[in-house]
Every structure is written in C-alpha cells, then in structure tokens.
C-alpha cells in the first residue's frame, strides 16, 4: 500500500514540476517540499488535486480542525496512507 502511495505522491509532484516548466530528477520521501523541491502553495494545491484523481481521496477536504504540517514528501505519504486506511 505505502509503496503505491509513495509512487503516486512522487508522480504527482513530478507532474506539477513538469507542468510548470521545471524538472525534478528524483523525488525522495525525505525531501522538503519547499526547500528541496521548490513547491509553493499553488503547487501543493495542484498536487492534492492530482492525488485525489490517482488515489481517490482528498484528506484535506474532509479534515476538520488543524491541518497537520506538510513539510516533507514523507508527510504527504503518511497523510494519504492514513486516509486510504480509513476509507
């Protein structure tokens, strides 16, 4: 499961970078979204829509209360893995 999720997260981020005229050679779980990959809030919003399409869930839409911090690629993987386990 988590293999699929991490693949999907990496693919979504690569699409975002590609669509905005940037290229990522690799996307690793430990990478920081803004510092290492250069993602801004629009990029993150796009990543979430793409992940909703590929994984079928949007953990941010239903989230009530405080949103967990999303700093690293691994944070995204954890949030989506949990959302898929619950669905």
């Amino acid at each position: 499961m988590s293999q699929t999720v991490s693949d999907a997260v990496a693919a979504a981020i690569r699409t975002v970078l590609h669509d905005t005229g940037r290229e990522a050679t690799r996307v690793e779980p430990a990478m920081l979204l803004s510092t290492d990959l250069g993602l801004d809030s629009l990029d993150l919003a796009q990543t979430i829509v793409l992940l909703e399409r590929s994984l079928g869930v949007d953990p941010f839409r239903s989230a009530s209360g405080a949103r967990p911090a999303i700093r690293a690629v691994s944070d995204l993987i954890a949030i989506y893995s949990e959302a898929l386990n619950q669905s």
Binding site: V16, L42, A45, E52, R53
Partner: protein, 455 residues
C-alpha cells in the same frame, strides 16, 4: 413561395398573435413549411403551416371545452410546443414552458394540466373561472440557472413577443433553432419565425455535422447561436457541409463574443452580417453590436443611447444599465474592461475564480488557450482546493487533424507555456485535461462548473 399578407398580425392582442399568425399563414399558404424537425438527419420531417394550424385548433377546442388552471408544456417536439403555447395564448390559459432542469419547480404549479407531444389535454382539475380573471394570460419560464438555482418567472405575452421584428424583410426566412425551445432565447426564435411565416429549422442534435447539414439542406438564413456553439460548429463541422451553408445573419447571444471568433465567422460565412446581442434575464435585450468587433464602443459609456438606455460601470468594471431616466440602474453581473477604444467583456462576476485571494476571469484564460495552434475549444473553471480556495482548471479540445508535427502532448505543453507567458502565475491552469468536447449548459453556453467527480 406564395406571398402571404401578414399585415394584420401586429394588430392582434399579444396573447392571440401566435395563433392568429399560424391560422392566417395556413389559410393563405397551407403548404408552406413551418417547422423542420430532426433537420440534418435521415429522420428529417417537415411540418407545414396547415398541419400546425390544425394542431393549434385541436388544442384550442380541448382548452375551451374544459379550461384548466394553466398548462405545463412537456413537449419534446418544437412544433407541438408551439401549437400548445399558441392555443393557450388565444384561449387565455396561462402556459409554462419548462426545460428539463426546471422540472423540479412544477410543484409550484401543481393544479396545472400537463400537455405533451400527443397534444391531448387531460380533463381539467379545479377549473378556471374565466370571468374572474384578474391577471392577463401569461407565460411562465424558468431562469437558466447560470447565476443561482433556476426559478420560475412570469412573463406577459407582450414582453415575450416585444422583440419580434415583423417588417417585410423578415418574412418567410429559415431560422436555425439551436436553442432549447423552452428558454427565453429559444422562445424568441420560434416566436419570431412563426409570426413572420418563417421556417423553423430544428437540428436533430447539436453535433456540428448535423447542424451544418441542417444549415445547408434547409437553407437557413438566420443563425442565432451562442459563441460556444458557433465556435464548435466552425471548428468541428465538415468543411464541405459548412461551405454549402449560406446564412445571411448570425446573431450571437448568451455569452460575450470574442474577437477571434468574430474573425473566423466572417471568414467561414463571408455573406453573413454578424451581430452580437447583449441581453440579460432581468432586462431583456439591452443593445446589439454589428461592427464585427468584440464588446462595444467605449464612447457609449455614460451617455444616453438611442432608446434612452444609459450604460456605466462600477469601480470594479461591472456594467450598470439604466433602461430609461425613470428606472433604477441595474447591476448586470457582467464585468467589462477598456481595451483601446472598446469596452470588452471580461466575464461574469459570479464566474470569477479566486486563487489564494487573487481573481481570475475564466474567459481570459480561455482566450489564451484557444489562441494556441492545435486547440479549437476551451473552457476554464474553478477547482475547489483546501489550500488556495480554488485552482484554475481547464479543458481543451484538440484540432482534428492536429497541425503537422504536433502531438497531444506537445499541444498540451505549448498551451501551458502560452498561459505562463500571458497570464499571472495564479491564472495558469493547474489542471489541464484534453477532452473530446467541452461541457456546455443546456442553454448552449460554456459551463463554469467543476466536473462532477474525478476522472
């Protein structure tokens, strides 16, 4: 074609005018074609004024035998709808013309009688005391729901028929019926055609080839359309069929017409006079522009125009209309911007996509998308986002065939690059899908709603 004298039509009271015109044409030229149903397809069927008049008479007899509270027309066939509406008008029975998406609203009209394509009028319930009529017979239509949920509105026959032009030059022409016959724009087309002894050409579908064949085979002279439907016709219909169509007039309405579309239309239909009409549900027709350029002359702002209309804009560019000196200014919800000597429409206020607090007009995005080689149609809409509120999303339709050397991937990449070049960063579509056909509303306009569900 036998000449028909229609000089007495306008003297009739508005509610009776349609039935009068149909009977008058049927009396003088019973073989003249009133409606071409399923035009452009093998199922094409012509209905003559003689047959239409008989249908009106039959409905009138049933209505006068047992007058119902009101009639809800649920006809799929335009000729049936016209017959019932005309009969109701002359018999003083209120009539509701409702599109499919307004069917939920019929609860408000629960004592009314439903009449469908069979033209049978079921026994009336409750009955209607004709003597106590305080309100004149009227027409009930639903608003299109582009801005908010559809609701029922009551119109007098006078207002329904007010815009019809009855002068000699408008008589006996072929009219394309690309609109839903129950919508305001559609009602205007069939009423205009019937009142002038015209031929109403109803294509079997909105498929571009079907519409093009209908235009050519049934010699359509007047082509009323939304910019979205005309763009699709020009981009996708078989060029041979298109070259056989000879419209004399193209009347665009319902959405703003952009410069490139006006240019293309001029090239494809060199003989046509192209007009775009600005109208709103609340105000009806406000003005029309025929100079082949988008928007309207900027000099119109702040001045009394012929007819007493005064246009102005709010600080944010929203167009305000004052129909006459003694009426209040109405905020139209349409935003205009000054480009050179013109005021051009940037879009509807309610269509604005808000991305992290920044506003994006989808129409502007669509103009950039359609400017890319290999893209024929486009729509932009707001995709809800928990992070930024909304994101700009878009759909494009690719040209068939694609330009030499292009692939779907290369066109998609070129589209995004063009957007990055011409739009603010938040205006660049973040979701860009290649589709076979863009989503349109039942009124034939480009939909601004997100897709339902994911793909």
């Amino acid at each position: 074609m036998t000449a028909v004298d229609l000089s007495r039509v306008n003297a009739e009271p508005a509610p009776e005018r349609l039935a009068f015109a149909i009977h008058e044409i049927a009396r003088q030229a019973p073989d003249r074609i009133a409606v071409v149903a399923a035009a452009g397809s093998p199922q094409r069927q012509a209905i003559e004024y003689g047959a239409l008049a008989s249908a009106v008479a039959a409905v009138e007899r049933a209505l006068s035998a047992a007058p119902p509270q009101g009639v809800i027309v649920r006809a799929r066939r335009v000729d049936a709808l016209v017959a019932v509406a005309a009969a109701c008008g002359r018999q003083g029975v209120p009539v509701a013309l409702l599109a499919d998406d307004a069917r939920d609203l019929v609860g408000e009209l629960r004592d009314w009688t439903v009449v469908d394509d069979t033209l049978q009028v079921p026994g009336s319930r409750g009955g209607r005391t004709r003597v106590a009529d305080t309100d004149p017979p009227h027409v009930v239509v639903a608003t299109s729901g582009t801005s908010g949920p559809p609701k029922l509105v009551q119109r007098t026959w006078d207002s329904v028929l007010a815009a019809a032009r009855l002068a000699e030059q408008w008589q006996g022409l072929g009219w394309l019926m690309a609109y839903d016959a129950t919508r305001w724009a559609g009602i205007q087309v069939w009423a205009q055609s019937v009142l002038t002894g015209g031929r109403l050409v109803v294509p079997a579908s909105r498929d571009p080839d079907v519409v093009a064949r209908a235009l050519a085979e049934d010699q359509v002279a007047i082509l009323p359309s939304t910019p979205t439907l005309l763009r699709r016709l020009i981009a996708s219909a078989d060029p041979t069929l298109l070259s056989q169509a000879r419209p004399e007039r193209i009347t665009l309405g319902g959405e703003a017409a952009d410069g490139p579309l006006l240019e293309q239309a001029k090239q494809v239909f060199p003989g046509a006079k192209i007009t775009h009409v600005y109208a709103t549900t609340e105000l009806g027709e406000v003005f029309r522009v025929s100079d082949g350029r988008p928007g309207f002359p900027a000099t119109w702002l702040g001045r009394q125009l012929p007819g007493g209309i005064r246009l102005s804009t709010r600080r944010d560019g929203e167009l305000l209309v004052q129909l006459s000196r003694d009426t209040a200014e109405v905020a139209t919800g349409d935003v205009v911007e000054r480009r050179g000597d013109r005021c051009e429409f940037t879009g509807r206020r309610s269509d604005v996509i808000v991305v992290g607090g920044a506003k994006v007009f989808p129409k502007r995005v669509e103009e950039v998308l359609r400017g890319v080689a290999g893209v024929t149609e486009a729509r932009a809409y707001g995709q809800p986002s928990a992070i930024t509120g909304e994101l700009v999303a878009a759909e494009i339709v690719l040209a068939d065939p694609l330009p030499a050397g292009a692939s779907p991937e290369s066109v998609r990449a070129a589209t995004l690059a063009a957007c990055r070049e011409s739009l603010e960063p938040h205006g660049v579509p973040r979701i860009l899908d290649i589709v076979k056909r863009i989503t349109t509303t039942s009124a034939g306009k480009t939909s601004r709603r997100p897709l339902v569900g994911t793909q």
